[in-house]
């Protein structure tokens, strides 16, 4: 391996690592707020990519009926949750959020899809379709278990992942899709050729990180999410409902996942089950960061991306094995360094 190849591999690793960073940040956010390890994060990525691909082809994406169905289920779950204080106003609010909003998004997708309105509008429609799914899934699958242990939540999370993968197959079929790049431009930089697409990926990742930072440090809602993560009872005593915080955090995760899907769709052919492996690599990064620190998760994700690209050059048959093995020394180091702590459940 000479210096040029190493540079190429590093470039590739950083670009892939940017996507893993987005996923790792979502996982840290959802875990600290809800204690759910969000395995289905990868499905949001796949749904984002596939939704964009079908809009690009001028057809109505399969995620639209899924969104309507999930909204209906979430409406029932919300009504059951609020049964002790269900009045007209609450019902109206729930109906607007769970039924009317998805219907509007579906109508927009139905009208816009055949018109092929251009990449930007298609991306916005994609984000509008996938993002609300996060909140709906939280209401249906995770909120009823809010008091369960981390293990039970993890099992529910695996269940949601399997269900979403299956639904992905039903709605999108087994064929993979690819979308055109966000930018055809490319710029020479020394021995490397930097593509516009990779600049978009790194730029949007940085933008999301800055936006998350502003959200957490400048807005009351962002602070309420941190407060829930820091002290759940304290937050409840301030009137911050865990379900509000959970719903918001999973929605943010769905948004980031869909955006990641939009970003990788031009680079690789995405199938209904592609998301899982991508999500798992983000998960490795999040674990390295102890599922707690955002900057550490982002840095670890870049590292995972670089390990992956070097591994795929040196020993491509083993590249996944090498990436996932990277977690073992970290876990060993963590378990040696930290004293055993009581489970605070």
């Amino acid at each position: 391996m000479d210096a040029t190849i190493l540079l190429l591999l590093l470039q590739d690793g950083v670009v892939n690592g940017a996507i893993y960073a987005l996923i790792a940040l979502s996982l840290v956010l959802v875990f600290t707020v809800t204690r759910v390890i969000l395995i289905p994060q990868g499905e949001f990525v796949a749904y984002g990519a596939l939704t964009l691909a079908s809009l690009e082809a001028g057809t109505l994406p399969g995620t639209v009926p899924l969104l309507l169905g999930l909204g209906g289920l979430a409406f029932l779950a919300d009504c059951a949750e609020a049964r002790h204080s269900l009045d007209g106003r609450t019902l109206l609010r729930l109906g607007l959020r769970d039924l009317v909003l998805p219907a509007l998004v579906a109508a927009a997708a139905w009208i816009l899809a055949p018109m092929k309105p251009g990449l930007l509008i298609e991306i916005l429609v994609t984000l509008a379709i996938v993002t609300p799914m996060g909140g709906f899934l939280y209401a249906v699958a995770f909120r009823p278990l809010a008091h369960a242990s981390v293990l039970v939540l993890l099992i529910a999370s695996v269940g949601v992942h399997l269900a979403l993968t299956g639904l992905g197959l039903v709605f999108f079929g087994a064929e993979g899709s690819r979308t055109p790049p966000l930018s055809e431009a490319s710029f020479p930089a020394g021995p490397l050729l930097v593509s516009g697409q990779s600049l978009w990926m790194i730029g949007l990742t940085l933008a999301i990180i800055v936006a998350l930072w502003l959200f957490f440090s400048r807005t009351l809602l962002g602070k309420a999410l941190i407060a829930t993560a820091v002290n759940r009872l304290g937050a409840r005593l301030m009137g911050i409902a865990p379900s509000l915080a959970g719903r918001l955090s999973v929605s943010v995760a769905a948004f980031i996942g869909a955006l990641s899907g939009v970003l990788i769709a031009p680079l690789t052919t995405v199938y209904y089950d592609t998301g899982f492996l991508i999500g798992l690599k983000g998960f490795v990064a999040a674990i390295i960061a102890g599922l707690a620190s955002y900057p550490a998760a982002a840095a670890a994700a870049i590292l995972v991306g670089i390990i992956e690209s070097i591994a795929s050059f040196e020993a491509s048959a083993f590249k996944e094995v090498i990436v996932f093995m990277a977690i073992i020394p970290v876990l060993l180091w963590r378990s040696l360094r930290s004293a055993p702590i009581e489970d605070e459940e």
Binding site: N231, L233, G234, R236, L237, M238, G239, I240, A241
Partner: protein
């Protein structure tokens, strides 16, 4: 007595098969300071947690005539109830100022929540130590400052009934006196208060009415002056110290 603000009817709380609170009935009138006394393990904290919805309870809880029994904590906060728990439950890794701002979370959709600054300034005037430490992490504060922050954070939510669980716990006597003065002052400003205390002397000094819990049941209740003179209370909870020694800088209750 006027129409009660808070009314608990035959409230019972069980941890598994052990009943920690057994059929307790209690009322708090608007603008009154009511104290619940009792030894360790008498069920005082459990009672407050049940009133706030932290623990599920049997029986009935009415707040201004509305039935709260099955509502979650957040819904009770929205009605104007607030609890400062024994462990304070501050946001340790967040700044003092962020802790205070989150105290006004329930007003986030209203004009008051948007500026919020008015109340924040008021809290800094009331608790100057917090103003000095506004950028500091809440976890780095001393015990007394934490109690101040917990009180200020609760007040940011403009509660109409404030419940305090052992506010004097772990504090030096001088600070206890200051906390008690603050509680009495809140009552004078019209906030109804339910105060759980082991420091019965300090609590009875400022309270209007008192309940004595033992083994999860109310064994005695009455006007705080009557309780101060009650032989059983004196013997069990007050000991022989004179009132002025225990609570310096304060003369007999103003009410």
């Amino acid at each position: 007595m006027t129409q009660p603000m808070l009314e608990a009817e035959t409230l019972s709380v069980a941890y598994g098969r052990v009943e920690a609170v057994r059929g307790v009935s209690l009322t708090v009138a608007p603008g009154r300071l009511v104290t619940v006394l009792g030894a360790n393990g008498a069920g005082k904290t459990t009672l407050l947690n049940a009133l706030m919805g932290v623990l599920p309870a049997r029986g009935r809880i009415l707040f201004e005539g509305r039935d709260l029994t099955r509502l979650p904590i957040e819904a009770r906060v929205a009605q104007g109830l607030s609890l400062i728990p024994e462990r304070r439950e501050l946001f340790a890794t967040m700044s003092v100022e962020d802790n205070l701002k989150l105290g006004a979370f329930r007003f986030r959709h209203t004009a008051r929540g948007k500026d919020g600054g008015g109340d924040l300034g008021e809290m800094y005037r009331l608790f100057p130590r917090l103003a000095e430490r506004r950028r500091q992490q809440a976890g780095t504060l001393s015990g007394g400052e934490r109690q101040m922050l917990a009180m200020a954070r609760a007040l940011m939510g403009r509660p109409r009934l404030l419940m305090l669980d052992e506010p004097s716990l772990g504090l030096a006597p001088l600070i206890v006196a200051e906390v008690m003065r603050m509680v009495a002052r809140l009552r004078d400003e019209g906030v109804a208060i339910l105060l759980v205390e082991q420091n019965a002397r300090a609590a009875l000094q400022i309270a209007d009415h008192g309940y004595v819990l033992d083994g999860g049941s109310v064994v005695l209740q009455g006007d705080s002056r009557t309780l101060q003179g009650d032989a059983r209370v004196v013997e069990t909870y007050l000991g022989s110290l004179s009132v002025d020694e225990a609570l310096p800088g304060r003369t007999a209750s103003g009410r």
